[in-house]
Amino acid sequence: MANRHIYLDHSATTPVDSRVVAAMTRALTETFGNASSVHGFGQQARAAVDRARREVAALIGARQNEIIFTSGGTEANNLAIKGLSSDEPGHIISSAIEHPSVRGVCDTLEDRGWDVTRLPVYENGIVRIDDLKKAITTRTSLITIMSANNEIGTLQPISEIGKLVAAKRAEGQKIWFHTDAVQAVGRIAINVDDLGCDLLSLSGHKLYAPKGVGALFVRRGVRLRSQSIGGHQERERRAGTENVPGIVALGEAAKLARDEFSERTSHDAKLRDLFEHLVAERIDNLVFNGDQKHRLPHLSNISFRFIEGEGLLINLDLQGVAVSTGSACSSGTLEPSPVIRALGHNDELARGSIRFSFGKDNNEDDVSFAVDVLANSVKKLRELSPLNKPSVLELQPLNSR
């Protein structure tokens, strides 16, 4: 129905950069060998994988041999947490707003007898260091807390957590710190030494690389149990023939993310801020979710009172604006966004939240078009909503009361 299509869902996935496509195409057509083969074709593929590993390492301030390539962020999170959890149940600390790939693994460990502490976030969507200090016991062997939330973009105090973990380790405790940085890498400056994390997950398709490739940083000295059995790839920590084209694409995307970091982040922040300014000018009864300072530069999460997120999302989509919502209504059961609920907001706000996430290919015209469409859709859905009208009792005819 729409003639114009504006993509404002870069936190879900990004379009693949044409330079990444070119690098990947070369890998598909020229560097097609098996990176484990000893002949020339294999060695060319090995060299391409090594170059990509250097680029990914450079993006996050790691050493080349501390990068394990995976199929994406979910596998990286699974490998990190499962790879560090021993058969003997212990204690793990996480947060209430983790991505399902972390939350789900923690739930599974809990079923196997582990104690799991899920730190609360408050109205700002950020965990408190004091809560973490209180939660750590002598049995705590792993802390897994995301760098930036995928729905509201709030930045967690990762370097403070890293310092706390280092202090505990200095006291003799065997404790590791993993962070899911899938949303953060390429969006904010990431240096694993500054953060003090032992493991860090990242994903290619959030960085203008294709789906199906990601990486896990594993600090030297951390012993990780492989979750797949087979070959000796990735230093015995992830068996399986390397996805050379995907890895090459991730390497190219990492290089571009590093080279263009300042330009991209200031561009995204400028568009996001313009968007929020225009929205606040034209639409009332809304709540900007999460801390407005400590958050990703490209993301805005807004709850619109009196209307439901999915209704608004589809209306926007039919007019050419692609966004996402944290809640979904299915089979008569609604799952209001657990992240928005964790902020202490009620169900109406949790049901009416929409995430807008900007990218390097958006421009100011996109913002102004999206705000026009949004303002009209919100107006229409509010005219349709019974929530902002007199109650039915006031309207019932006298003869039926």
């Binding site: 129905m1 009196f306 209307i307 439901e308 999915e310 209704g311 589809i314 209306n315 039919l318 209504c329 299915s330 089979s331 008569g332 059961t333 609604l334 169900d347 109406e348 049901r351 229409k380 859905l381 005219e383 349709l384 909503s385 019974p386 929530l387 009208k389 007199p390 039915v392 309207l395 019932q396 005819p397 003869n399 039926s400």
Partner: protein
């Protein structure tokens, strides 16, 4: 499944939105699980629905079900409206994925609650005046 062109058209241009100031009956029902809500106002004369209006809060199938239903029932006799089923409404919106059938069920339930009010008025012997 993707939504039908009828569905998309009603979502873009919902019909019969609002309340009726001179309604014979007004009913509002909420799905207690997902929170979706529909309000239907009816103006009835001589056993026939002259006007219908609706308001809705919820996912797109809920918004569209109200629009299609109100369009469908205007001009119907009370007994014709009473016999409408969820399946017929789903058919009229051009089909819904099974996980969204509850939206049509809520619209039908709200219509029946409004029709019950009309029946109550009639059974209590109160004349619905011609307007």
């Amino acid at each position: 499944m993707s939504y039908s062109s009828v569905f998309k058209e009603h979502l873009a241009n919902p019909r019969n939105v609002g309340d009726l100031a001179n309604a014979t009956a007004v009913a509002e029902e909420t799905n207690p699980v997902c929170g979706d809500r529909i309000r239907i106002s009816l103006l009835v004369d001589n056993g026939r629905i002259l006007e219908a209006r609706y308001l809705a809060y919820g996912c797109p199938p809920t918004l569209v079900s109200g629009s299609v239903l109100t369009e469908l029932i205007m001009g119907m006799t009370l007994s014709e409206a009473e016999s409408l089923t969820r399946a017929e409404l789903i058919d009229r919106v051009g089909g819904l994925p099974s996980r969204k059938h509850h939206a049509a069920a809520l619209a039908i339930e709200t219509l029946r609650a409004a029709l019950n009010q009309v029946s109550q008025v009639i059974s209590e012997g109160r004349q619905i005046e011609s307007r």
